[in-house]
Symmetry: C2
Subunit: 278 residues, 2 copies
Protein backbone atom coordinates (compact mmCIF):
# COMPACT_ATOMS: atom_id res chain seq x y z
CA UNK A 1 0.00 0.00 0.00
CA UNK A 2 1.47 3.35 -1.00
CA UNK A 3 1.27 6.37 1.29
CA UNK A 4 -1.43 7.84 -0.99
CA UNK A 5 -3.49 4.68 -0.53
CA UNK A 6 -3.06 4.91 3.24
CA UNK A 7 -4.24 8.53 3.48
CA UNK A 8 -7.05 7.62 1.07
CA UNK A 9 -8.07 4.73 3.33
CA UNK A 10 -8.21 7.00 6.38
CA UNK A 11 -10.85 9.25 4.82
CA UNK A 12 -14.18 8.69 6.57
CA UNK A 13 -17.35 7.16 5.19
CA UNK A 14 -20.24 9.65 5.17
CA UNK A 15 -23.77 8.61 6.12
CA UNK A 16 -26.77 10.92 6.11
CA UNK A 17 -30.43 10.57 6.98
CA UNK A 18 -33.42 12.83 7.50
CA UNK A 19 -33.12 12.11 11.22
CA UNK A 20 -31.70 9.55 13.64
CA UNK A 21 -33.10 6.39 12.01
CA UNK A 22 -30.04 6.20 9.76
CA UNK A 23 -27.97 5.23 12.79
CA UNK A 24 -29.22 1.67 12.11
CA UNK A 25 -27.08 1.86 8.96
CA UNK A 26 -24.10 3.18 10.96
CA UNK A 27 -24.58 0.27 13.35
CA UNK A 28 -24.46 -2.25 10.49
CA UNK A 29 -21.51 -0.40 8.94
CA UNK A 30 -19.50 -0.48 12.17
CA UNK A 31 -20.21 -4.17 12.53
CA UNK A 32 -19.15 -4.95 8.95
CA UNK A 33 -16.24 -2.45 8.66
CA UNK A 34 -15.12 -1.74 12.24
CA UNK A 35 -11.91 0.01 11.20
CA UNK A 36 -13.62 2.76 9.24
CA UNK A 37 -14.12 6.30 10.47
CA UNK A 38 -17.72 7.39 10.01
CA UNK A 39 -19.28 10.86 9.78
CA UNK A 40 -23.04 10.88 10.34
CA UNK A 41 -25.42 13.72 9.61
CA UNK A 42 -29.07 13.69 10.69
CA UNK A 43 -31.18 16.51 9.25
CA UNK A 44 -33.30 16.54 12.39
CA UNK A 45 -34.39 20.17 11.95
CA UNK A 46 -36.28 19.22 8.78
CA UNK A 47 -37.20 15.62 9.55
CA UNK A 48 -39.28 13.86 8.25
CA UNK A 49 -38.60 13.77 4.52
CA UNK A 50 -41.16 11.00 4.02
CA UNK A 51 -44.22 13.22 3.77
CA UNK A 52 -42.61 15.82 1.50
CA UNK A 53 -42.41 16.33 -2.26
CA UNK A 54 -39.55 14.92 -4.41
CA UNK A 55 -38.39 18.51 -5.11
CA UNK A 56 -38.00 19.32 -1.40
CA UNK A 57 -36.43 15.94 -0.61
CA UNK A 58 -33.88 16.43 -3.39
CA UNK A 59 -33.00 19.94 -2.22
CA UNK A 60 -32.48 18.88 1.40
CA UNK A 61 -30.58 15.71 0.40
CA UNK A 62 -28.14 17.67 -1.74
CA UNK A 63 -27.44 19.99 1.21
CA UNK A 64 -26.76 16.98 3.47
CA UNK A 65 -24.42 15.41 0.95
CA UNK A 66 -22.56 18.70 0.42
CA UNK A 67 -21.93 18.82 4.17
CA UNK A 68 -20.41 15.32 4.09
CA UNK A 69 -18.34 16.00 0.97
CA UNK A 70 -16.91 19.10 2.65
CA UNK A 71 -15.65 16.71 5.36
CA UNK A 72 -13.74 14.77 2.70
CA UNK A 73 -15.67 11.50 2.83
CA UNK A 74 -14.59 8.75 0.43
CA UNK A 75 -18.07 7.26 0.10
CA UNK A 76 -21.62 8.49 0.77
CA UNK A 77 -24.35 6.24 2.18
CA UNK A 78 -27.88 7.59 1.86
CA UNK A 79 -29.50 5.87 4.84
CA UNK A 80 -32.86 7.55 4.31
CA UNK A 81 -35.11 5.51 2.02
CA UNK A 82 -37.12 8.58 0.99
CA UNK A 83 -33.95 10.41 -0.06
CA UNK A 84 -32.65 7.29 -1.83
CA UNK A 85 -35.94 6.81 -3.65
CA UNK A 86 -36.28 10.43 -4.79
CA UNK A 87 -32.84 12.00 -4.97
CA UNK A 88 -30.23 9.37 -5.89
CA UNK A 89 -29.63 10.51 -9.51
CA UNK A 90 -29.16 14.11 -8.36
CA UNK A 91 -26.89 13.03 -5.49
CA UNK A 92 -24.71 10.89 -7.77
CA UNK A 93 -24.46 13.68 -10.33
CA UNK A 94 -23.24 16.03 -7.60
CA UNK A 95 -20.73 13.69 -5.95
CA UNK A 96 -17.11 12.95 -6.93
CA UNK A 97 -17.20 9.82 -4.71
CA UNK A 98 -19.50 6.76 -4.94
CA UNK A 99 -23.02 7.16 -3.51
CA UNK A 100 -24.88 4.12 -2.16
CA UNK A 101 -28.64 4.36 -1.64
CA UNK A 102 -30.97 2.25 0.50
CA UNK A 103 -33.30 0.97 -2.19
CA UNK A 104 -31.11 -1.34 -4.30
CA UNK A 105 -29.57 -3.12 -1.29
CA UNK A 106 -33.03 -3.50 0.30
CA UNK A 107 -34.42 -4.88 -2.96
CA UNK A 108 -31.54 -7.35 -3.26
CA UNK A 109 -32.20 -8.60 0.29
CA UNK A 110 -35.87 -9.11 -0.60
CA UNK A 111 -35.05 -10.99 -3.82
CA UNK A 112 -32.69 -13.24 -1.87
CA UNK A 113 -35.40 -14.01 0.70
CA UNK A 114 -38.55 -14.50 -1.38
CA UNK A 115 -39.71 -17.88 -2.65
CA UNK A 116 -43.14 -16.93 -3.99
CA UNK A 117 -41.81 -13.81 -5.72
CA UNK A 118 -44.59 -11.83 -4.01
CA UNK A 119 -42.95 -8.99 -2.08
CA UNK A 120 -44.49 -6.33 0.13
CA UNK A 121 -42.79 -2.96 0.60
CA UNK A 122 -43.68 -0.65 3.48
CA UNK A 123 -42.22 2.82 3.87
CA UNK A 124 -42.99 6.51 3.88
CA UNK A 125 -45.42 8.13 1.48
CA UNK A 126 -42.46 9.63 -0.43
CA UNK A 127 -40.78 6.25 -0.86
CA UNK A 128 -43.97 4.47 -1.89
CA UNK A 129 -45.00 7.22 -4.33
CA UNK A 130 -41.58 7.20 -5.99
CA UNK A 131 -42.03 3.60 -7.20
CA UNK A 132 -38.28 3.10 -6.62
CA UNK A 133 -38.61 -0.33 -4.96
CA UNK A 134 -40.92 -1.53 -7.74
CA UNK A 135 -38.32 -0.53 -10.32
CA UNK A 136 -35.47 -2.18 -8.40
CA UNK A 137 -37.43 -5.39 -7.81
CA UNK A 138 -38.63 -5.59 -11.42
CA UNK A 139 -35.02 -6.52 -12.28
CA UNK A 140 -36.14 -10.11 -11.66
CA UNK A 141 -38.91 -11.36 -13.99
CA UNK A 142 -42.12 -12.65 -12.39
CA UNK A 143 -41.76 -10.64 -9.18
CA UNK A 144 -44.93 -8.95 -7.94
CA UNK A 145 -44.76 -5.99 -5.57
CA UNK A 146 -47.41 -4.44 -3.31
CA UNK A 147 -46.35 -1.30 -1.47
CA UNK A 148 -47.96 0.72 1.28
CA UNK A 149 -47.15 3.89 3.22
CA UNK A 150 -47.33 3.42 7.01
CA UNK A 151 -47.03 6.92 8.56
CA UNK A 152 -47.88 5.86 12.12
CA UNK A 153 -44.94 3.47 12.36
CA UNK A 154 -42.40 6.30 12.82
CA UNK A 155 -44.00 7.96 15.89
CA UNK A 156 -44.76 4.48 17.23
CA UNK A 157 -41.05 3.62 17.10
CA UNK A 158 -40.11 6.98 18.63
CA UNK A 159 -42.61 6.52 21.48
CA UNK A 160 -40.91 3.20 22.21
CA UNK A 161 -44.22 1.32 21.85
CA UNK A 162 -42.41 -1.42 20.01
CA UNK A 163 -43.19 -4.56 22.02
CA UNK A 164 -44.75 -7.37 19.99
CA UNK A 165 -47.47 -7.45 22.64
CA UNK A 166 -48.16 -3.69 22.78
CA UNK A 167 -51.88 -3.11 22.15
CA UNK A 168 -51.40 0.11 20.17
CA UNK A 169 -48.52 -1.30 18.12
CA UNK A 170 -50.56 -4.41 17.32
CA UNK A 171 -53.64 -2.37 16.33
CA UNK A 172 -51.57 -0.16 14.00
CA UNK A 173 -49.65 -3.12 12.51
CA UNK A 174 -52.89 -5.05 11.93
CA UNK A 175 -54.40 -2.09 10.10
CA UNK A 176 -51.43 -1.58 7.79
CA UNK A 177 -50.38 -5.18 7.20
CA UNK A 178 -54.04 -6.19 6.81
CA UNK A 179 -54.24 -3.70 3.95
CA UNK A 180 -50.98 -5.05 2.47
CA UNK A 181 -52.12 -8.69 2.53
CA UNK A 182 -55.53 -7.65 1.18
CA UNK A 183 -53.67 -6.40 -1.89
CA UNK A 184 -51.66 -9.60 -2.23
CA UNK A 185 -52.26 -12.59 0.03
CA UNK A 186 -49.24 -14.44 -1.42
CA UNK A 187 -46.66 -12.01 -0.02
CA UNK A 188 -43.88 -14.02 1.69
CA UNK A 189 -41.33 -11.20 2.15
CA UNK A 190 -41.76 -7.67 3.49
CA UNK A 191 -39.13 -4.94 2.98
CA UNK A 192 -38.84 -2.46 5.86
CA UNK A 193 -38.35 0.52 3.56
CA UNK A 194 -37.79 3.12 6.29
CA UNK A 195 -34.96 3.33 8.81
CA UNK A 196 -37.39 3.51 11.76
CA UNK A 197 -39.19 0.27 11.00
CA UNK A 198 -36.46 -2.17 12.19
CA UNK A 199 -37.35 -1.03 15.74
CA UNK A 200 -40.80 -2.53 15.10
CA UNK A 201 -39.45 -5.77 13.62
CA UNK A 202 -40.93 -7.87 16.44
CA UNK A 203 -44.47 -6.61 16.12
CA UNK A 204 -44.32 -6.57 12.30
CA UNK A 205 -43.03 -10.16 12.22
CA UNK A 206 -45.66 -11.40 14.67
CA UNK A 207 -48.54 -9.56 12.99
CA UNK A 208 -47.52 -10.67 9.48
CA UNK A 209 -47.35 -14.28 10.66
CA UNK A 210 -50.78 -13.96 12.28
CA UNK A 211 -52.34 -12.44 9.15
CA UNK A 212 -50.62 -14.73 6.62
CA UNK A 213 -50.99 -17.89 8.69
CA UNK A 214 -47.30 -18.69 8.02
CA UNK A 215 -43.84 -17.17 8.48
CA UNK A 216 -43.10 -14.04 6.45
CA UNK A 217 -39.49 -12.91 5.88
CA UNK A 218 -38.83 -9.38 7.11
CA UNK A 219 -35.81 -7.67 5.51
CA UNK A 220 -34.27 -4.22 5.76
CA UNK A 221 -31.56 -2.26 3.96
CA UNK A 222 -29.03 -1.66 6.73
CA UNK A 223 -26.98 -4.86 6.52
CA UNK A 224 -27.12 -4.91 2.72
CA UNK A 225 -25.96 -1.27 2.60
CA UNK A 226 -22.98 -2.08 4.82
CA UNK A 227 -22.14 -4.98 2.49
CA UNK A 228 -22.43 -2.70 -0.54
CA UNK A 229 -20.05 -0.26 1.17
CA UNK A 230 -17.53 -3.08 1.76
CA UNK A 231 -17.76 -4.09 -1.89
CA UNK A 232 -17.34 -0.48 -3.06
CA UNK A 233 -14.25 0.00 -0.88
CA UNK A 234 -12.61 -3.17 -2.14
CA UNK A 235 -13.20 -2.21 -5.78
CA UNK A 236 -9.94 -0.22 -6.13
CA UNK A 237 -9.77 3.22 -4.55
CA UNK A 238 -11.27 4.34 -2.23
CA UNK A 239 -9.42 1.68 -0.26
CA UNK A 240 -10.46 -0.36 2.77
CA UNK A 241 -9.10 0.95 6.06
CA UNK A 242 -7.24 -1.43 8.36
CA UNK A 243 -6.71 -1.52 12.07
CA UNK A 244 -8.35 -0.06 15.15
CA UNK A 245 -12.03 0.61 15.71
CA UNK A 246 -12.86 3.72 13.71
CA UNK A 247 -14.10 7.01 15.08
CA UNK A 248 -17.74 8.06 14.82
CA UNK A 249 -18.56 11.76 14.52
CA UNK A 250 -22.27 12.66 14.65
CA UNK A 251 -23.83 15.91 13.43
CA UNK A 252 -27.44 17.04 13.48
CA UNK A 253 -29.38 20.14 12.41
CA UNK A 254 -31.51 20.06 15.58
CA UNK A 255 -30.71 18.43 18.90
CA UNK A 256 -34.17 17.80 20.35
CA UNK A 257 -34.49 14.31 21.89
CA UNK A 258 -31.24 13.03 20.33
CA UNK A 259 -29.85 11.72 23.61
CA UNK A 260 -33.08 9.87 24.22
CA UNK A 261 -33.71 8.34 20.80
CA UNK A 262 -30.35 7.96 19.07
CA UNK A 263 -28.99 5.06 21.20
CA UNK A 264 -32.06 2.93 20.28
CA UNK A 265 -30.99 3.08 16.65
CA UNK A 266 -27.22 2.97 17.03
CA UNK A 267 -27.18 0.18 19.60
CA UNK A 268 -24.33 1.85 21.51
CA UNK A 269 -24.11 5.11 23.48
CA UNK A 270 -23.80 8.20 21.28
CA UNK A 271 -21.05 10.35 22.76
CA UNK A 272 -22.35 13.56 21.27
CA UNK A 273 -24.05 15.28 18.39
CA UNK A 274 -22.64 18.52 17.10
CA UNK A 275 -25.28 21.03 16.02
CA UNK A 276 -24.88 22.40 12.47
CA UNK A 277 -26.90 24.70 10.24
CA UNK A 278 -27.33 23.68 6.62
CA UNK B 1 -63.76 56.57 8.39
CA UNK B 2 -60.93 58.42 6.66
CA UNK B 3 -59.31 57.07 3.49
CA UNK B 4 -56.28 56.05 5.55
CA UNK B 5 -58.54 53.98 7.79
CA UNK B 6 -60.11 52.33 4.73
CA UNK B 7 -56.79 51.33 3.18
CA UNK B 8 -55.66 50.21 6.64
CA UNK B 9 -58.77 48.03 6.98
CA UNK B 10 -58.12 46.36 3.62
CA UNK B 11 -54.74 45.07 4.70
CA UNK B 12 -54.94 41.29 5.19
CA UNK B 13 -54.64 39.28 8.38
CA UNK B 14 -51.65 36.93 8.33
CA UNK B 15 -51.83 33.40 9.73
CA UNK B 16 -48.96 30.94 9.81
CA UNK B 17 -48.51 27.39 10.94
CA UNK B 18 -45.90 24.65 10.67
CA UNK B 19 -48.23 22.90 8.22
CA UNK B 20 -51.87 22.72 7.20
CA UNK B 21 -53.41 22.30 10.67
CA UNK B 22 -53.53 26.08 11.09
CA UNK B 23 -56.31 26.19 8.51
CA UNK B 24 -58.64 25.36 11.43
CA UNK B 25 -57.77 28.86 12.70
CA UNK B 26 -58.44 30.35 9.25
CA UNK B 27 -61.79 28.58 9.27
CA UNK B 28 -62.73 30.13 12.63
CA UNK B 29 -61.39 33.51 11.50
CA UNK B 30 -63.48 33.50 8.32
CA UNK B 31 -66.56 32.56 10.33
CA UNK B 32 -65.98 35.35 12.88
CA UNK B 33 -64.64 38.05 10.51
CA UNK B 34 -65.95 37.11 7.04
CA UNK B 35 -65.00 40.46 5.47
CA UNK B 36 -61.28 40.12 6.18
CA UNK B 37 -58.67 39.16 3.60
CA UNK B 38 -56.43 36.41 4.92
CA UNK B 39 -52.93 35.34 3.92
CA UNK B 40 -51.99 31.86 5.13
CA UNK B 41 -48.53 30.33 5.19
CA UNK B 42 -47.90 26.67 6.01
CA UNK B 43 -44.23 25.74 6.48
CA UNK B 44 -44.93 22.28 5.08
CA UNK B 45 -41.32 21.72 3.97
CA UNK B 46 -40.15 21.79 7.59
CA UNK B 47 -43.25 20.45 9.34
CA UNK B 48 -43.54 19.33 12.13
CA UNK B 49 -42.21 21.89 14.60
CA UNK B 50 -43.55 19.89 17.55
CA UNK B 51 -40.61 17.52 17.89
CA UNK B 52 -37.92 20.17 17.44
CA UNK B 53 -35.90 22.37 19.80
CA UNK B 54 -37.05 25.87 20.87
CA UNK B 55 -34.08 27.34 18.96
CA UNK B 56 -35.10 25.74 15.67
CA UNK B 57 -38.80 26.52 16.21
CA UNK B 58 -37.97 30.18 16.85
CA UNK B 59 -35.77 30.42 13.76
CA UNK B 60 -38.42 28.89 11.48
CA UNK B 61 -41.24 30.93 13.06
CA UNK B 62 -39.41 34.21 12.49
CA UNK B 63 -38.95 33.31 8.82
CA UNK B 64 -42.68 32.57 8.49
CA UNK B 65 -43.65 35.83 10.14
CA UNK B 66 -41.20 37.81 7.96
CA UNK B 67 -42.93 36.34 4.89
CA UNK B 68 -46.33 37.55 6.17
CA UNK B 69 -45.04 41.00 7.17
CA UNK B 70 -43.59 41.41 3.67
CA UNK B 71 -47.17 40.96 2.42
CA UNK B 72 -48.25 43.93 4.55
CA UNK B 73 -50.46 42.11 7.05
CA UNK B 74 -52.08 44.20 9.79
CA UNK B 75 -52.12 41.38 12.34
CA UNK B 76 -50.28 38.06 12.75
CA UNK B 77 -51.95 34.92 14.10
CA UNK B 78 -49.58 32.15 15.15
CA UNK B 79 -51.84 29.15 14.59
CA UNK B 80 -49.14 26.64 15.56
CA UNK B 81 -49.19 25.88 19.28
CA UNK B 82 -45.52 24.84 19.27
CA UNK B 83 -44.49 28.15 17.68
CA UNK B 84 -46.75 30.07 20.07
CA UNK B 85 -45.35 28.24 23.07
CA UNK B 86 -41.70 28.69 22.12
CA UNK B 87 -41.34 31.76 19.91
CA UNK B 88 -43.97 34.35 20.86
CA UNK B 89 -41.64 36.82 22.61
CA UNK B 90 -39.23 36.74 19.64
CA UNK B 91 -42.09 37.09 17.16
CA UNK B 92 -43.58 40.06 19.01
CA UNK B 93 -40.19 41.74 19.27
CA UNK B 94 -39.75 41.40 15.50
CA UNK B 95 -43.22 42.58 14.46
CA UNK B 96 -44.55 46.12 14.00
CA UNK B 97 -48.14 44.76 14.09
CA UNK B 98 -49.90 42.83 16.89
CA UNK B 99 -49.10 39.10 17.17
CA UNK B 100 -51.70 36.72 18.62
CA UNK B 101 -50.56 33.27 19.75
CA UNK B 102 -52.56 30.09 20.32
CA UNK B 103 -51.75 29.49 23.97
CA UNK B 104 -53.44 32.39 25.79
CA UNK B 105 -56.75 32.04 23.88
CA UNK B 106 -56.72 28.26 24.44
CA UNK B 107 -56.03 28.75 28.14
CA UNK B 108 -58.88 31.26 28.42
CA UNK B 109 -61.26 28.78 26.80
CA UNK B 110 -60.19 26.13 29.30
CA UNK B 111 -60.61 28.48 32.29
CA UNK B 112 -64.11 29.37 31.04
CA UNK B 113 -65.02 25.67 30.76
CA UNK B 114 -63.56 24.08 33.90
CA UNK B 115 -65.51 23.68 37.13
CA UNK B 116 -63.09 21.53 39.10
CA UNK B 117 -60.08 23.68 38.12
CA UNK B 118 -58.32 20.48 37.02
CA UNK B 119 -57.25 20.94 33.40
CA UNK B 120 -55.49 18.55 31.03
CA UNK B 121 -53.37 19.86 28.17
CA UNK B 122 -52.40 17.65 25.23
CA UNK B 123 -50.08 18.81 22.46
CA UNK B 124 -46.73 18.27 20.82
CA UNK B 125 -43.56 17.56 22.76
CA UNK B 126 -42.37 21.12 22.07
CA UNK B 127 -45.56 22.65 23.45
CA UNK B 128 -45.62 20.45 26.54
CA UNK B 129 -41.92 20.96 27.28
CA UNK B 130 -42.27 24.74 27.02
CA UNK B 131 -44.65 24.86 30.01
CA UNK B 132 -46.49 27.71 28.22
CA UNK B 133 -50.00 26.44 28.98
CA UNK B 134 -49.11 25.93 32.66
CA UNK B 135 -47.92 29.53 32.86
CA UNK B 136 -51.05 30.85 31.10
CA UNK B 137 -53.40 28.77 33.25
CA UNK B 138 -51.63 29.68 36.48
CA UNK B 139 -53.17 33.15 36.03
CA UNK B 140 -56.12 31.75 37.98
CA UNK B 141 -55.31 30.60 41.55
CA UNK B 142 -56.11 27.00 42.44
CA UNK B 143 -55.92 25.66 38.91
CA UNK B 144 -54.06 22.37 38.48
CA UNK B 145 -52.63 21.36 35.12
CA UNK B 146 -51.49 17.98 33.80
CA UNK B 147 -49.96 18.02 30.33
CA UNK B 148 -48.95 15.25 27.95
CA UNK B 149 -47.37 15.02 24.50
CA UNK B 150 -49.37 12.83 22.09
CA UNK B 151 -47.16 12.39 18.97
CA UNK B 152 -49.35 9.74 17.32
CA UNK B 153 -52.39 12.02 17.13
CA UNK B 154 -50.98 14.01 14.19
CA UNK B 155 -50.42 11.10 11.78
CA UNK B 156 -53.71 9.60 12.99
CA UNK B 157 -55.53 12.79 11.93
CA UNK B 158 -53.63 12.87 8.62
CA UNK B 159 -54.48 9.24 7.88
CA UNK B 160 -58.15 10.17 8.38
CA UNK B 161 -58.55 7.49 11.07
CA UNK B 162 -60.64 9.91 13.08
CA UNK B 163 -63.93 8.06 13.64
CA UNK B 164 -64.94 7.75 17.28
CA UNK B 165 -65.33 4.01 16.59
CA UNK B 166 -62.00 3.50 14.78
CA UNK B 167 -60.07 0.70 16.54
CA UNK B 168 -56.63 2.28 16.08
CA UNK B 169 -57.82 5.77 17.04
CA UNK B 170 -59.47 4.36 20.18
CA UNK B 171 -56.38 2.34 21.15
CA UNK B 172 -54.14 5.40 20.76
CA UNK B 173 -56.58 7.72 22.59
CA UNK B 174 -56.96 5.22 25.43
CA UNK B 175 -53.19 5.02 25.86
CA UNK B 176 -52.67 8.78 25.97
CA UNK B 177 -55.78 9.85 27.86
CA UNK B 178 -55.35 6.93 30.26
CA UNK B 179 -51.93 8.36 31.10
CA UNK B 180 -53.42 11.85 31.49
CA UNK B 181 -56.18 10.73 33.89
CA UNK B 182 -53.65 8.61 35.79
CA UNK B 183 -51.83 11.85 36.53
CA UNK B 184 -55.02 13.63 37.63
CA UNK B 185 -58.36 11.82 37.84
CA UNK B 186 -60.22 15.08 38.57
CA UNK B 187 -59.58 16.62 35.12
CA UNK B 188 -62.86 17.98 33.75
CA UNK B 189 -61.46 19.96 30.79
CA UNK B 190 -58.93 19.03 28.13
CA UNK B 191 -57.22 21.61 25.90
CA UNK B 192 -56.45 20.42 22.38
CA UNK B 193 -53.07 22.15 22.24
CA UNK B 194 -52.23 21.27 18.62
CA UNK B 195 -54.04 22.32 15.45
CA UNK B 196 -54.43 18.72 14.27
CA UNK B 197 -56.28 17.49 17.32
CA UNK B 198 -59.68 19.07 16.59
CA UNK B 199 -60.01 16.49 13.79
CA UNK B 200 -59.94 13.85 16.54
CA UNK B 201 -62.45 15.67 18.76
CA UNK B 202 -65.00 12.85 18.46
CA UNK B 203 -62.69 10.05 19.57
CA UNK B 204 -61.05 12.21 22.26
CA UNK B 205 -64.44 13.23 23.67
CA UNK B 206 -65.74 9.65 23.70
CA UNK B 207 -62.57 8.18 25.18
CA UNK B 208 -62.30 10.87 27.87
CA UNK B 209 -65.93 10.26 28.87
CA UNK B 210 -65.30 6.50 29.01
CA UNK B 211 -62.17 6.91 31.15
CA UNK B 212 -63.54 9.63 33.47
CA UNK B 213 -67.01 8.09 33.83
CA UNK B 214 -68.52 11.56 33.10
CA UNK B 215 -68.50 14.30 30.48
CA UNK B 216 -65.21 16.10 29.97
CA UNK B 217 -65.11 19.49 28.21
CA UNK B 218 -62.84 19.52 25.14
CA UNK B 219 -61.63 22.99 24.08
CA UNK B 220 -59.31 24.27 21.39
CA UNK B 221 -57.68 27.59 20.47
CA UNK B 222 -59.18 28.27 17.03
CA UNK B 223 -62.42 30.01 18.01
CA UNK B 224 -60.77 31.92 20.85
CA UNK B 225 -57.99 33.07 18.50
CA UNK B 226 -60.57 34.40 16.03
CA UNK B 227 -62.27 36.24 18.89
CA UNK B 228 -58.93 37.70 20.01
CA UNK B 229 -58.35 38.89 16.43
CA UNK B 230 -61.75 40.60 16.40
CA UNK B 231 -60.95 42.32 19.69
CA UNK B 232 -57.52 43.42 18.44
CA UNK B 233 -59.01 44.88 15.25
CA UNK B 234 -61.66 46.85 17.15
CA UNK B 235 -59.08 48.29 19.56
CA UNK B 236 -58.21 51.27 17.34
CA UNK B 237 -55.98 50.68 14.34
CA UNK B 238 -55.63 48.20 12.71
CA UNK B 239 -59.31 48.68 11.82
CA UNK B 240 -62.04 46.10 11.18
CA UNK B 241 -62.80 45.60 7.48
CA UNK B 242 -66.40 45.86 6.28
CA UNK B 243 -68.27 44.33 3.39
CA UNK B 244 -67.87 41.34 1.10
CA UNK B 245 -66.40 37.96 1.92
CA UNK B 246 -62.66 38.44 2.09
CA UNK B 247 -60.09 36.76 -0.11
CA UNK B 248 -57.96 33.85 1.07
CA UNK B 249 -54.44 33.45 -0.32
CA UNK B 250 -52.59 30.27 0.72
CA UNK B 251 -48.84 29.71 0.55
CA UNK B 252 -46.77 26.68 1.48
CA UNK B 253 -43.11 25.72 1.47
CA UNK B 254 -43.89 22.22 0.12
CA UNK B 255 -46.97 21.08 -1.78
CA UNK B 256 -47.06 17.36 -0.99
CA UNK B 257 -50.58 16.15 -0.10
CA UNK B 258 -51.98 19.67 0.31
CA UNK B 259 -54.95 19.05 -1.99
CA UNK B 260 -55.79 15.95 -0.04
CA UNK B 261 -55.40 17.16 3.54
CA UNK B 262 -56.00 20.92 3.52
CA UNK B 263 -59.81 20.84 2.94
CA UNK B 264 -60.26 18.64 6.07
CA UNK B 265 -58.88 21.49 8.16
CA UNK B 266 -60.30 24.48 6.30
CA UNK B 267 -63.80 23.06 5.92
CA UNK B 268 -64.09 24.50 2.40
CA UNK B 269 -62.26 23.76 -0.85
CA UNK B 270 -58.78 25.28 -1.05
CA UNK B 271 -58.46 26.90 -4.46
CA UNK B 272 -54.68 26.70 -4.52
CA UNK B 273 -51.45 26.87 -2.60
CA UNK B 274 -48.59 28.86 -4.02
CA UNK B 275 -45.18 27.30 -3.42
CA UNK B 276 -42.61 29.56 -1.75
CA UNK B 277 -39.04 29.12 -0.48
CA UNK B 278 -38.22 30.65 2.89
Amino acid sequence: MTSTDVSEARRPIGVFDSGVGGLTVVRALRARLPGEDVVYLGDTARVPYGSKSPRTVERYSLACQAFLLARDVKLVLVACNTASANALPALRAASPVPVIGAVDPGAESALAATRSGHIGVIGTLGTVRSGAYERALAARPGVRVASLACPLFVPLAEEGWTDAGDAVARAVARRYLGELFARDAAIDTIVLGCTHYPLLRGVITATARELAGRDVAIVDSATAMAEAAAVALRRGPPALAQGERGALACFATDTSRLDEIAPCFLGEPVTSFELVDL
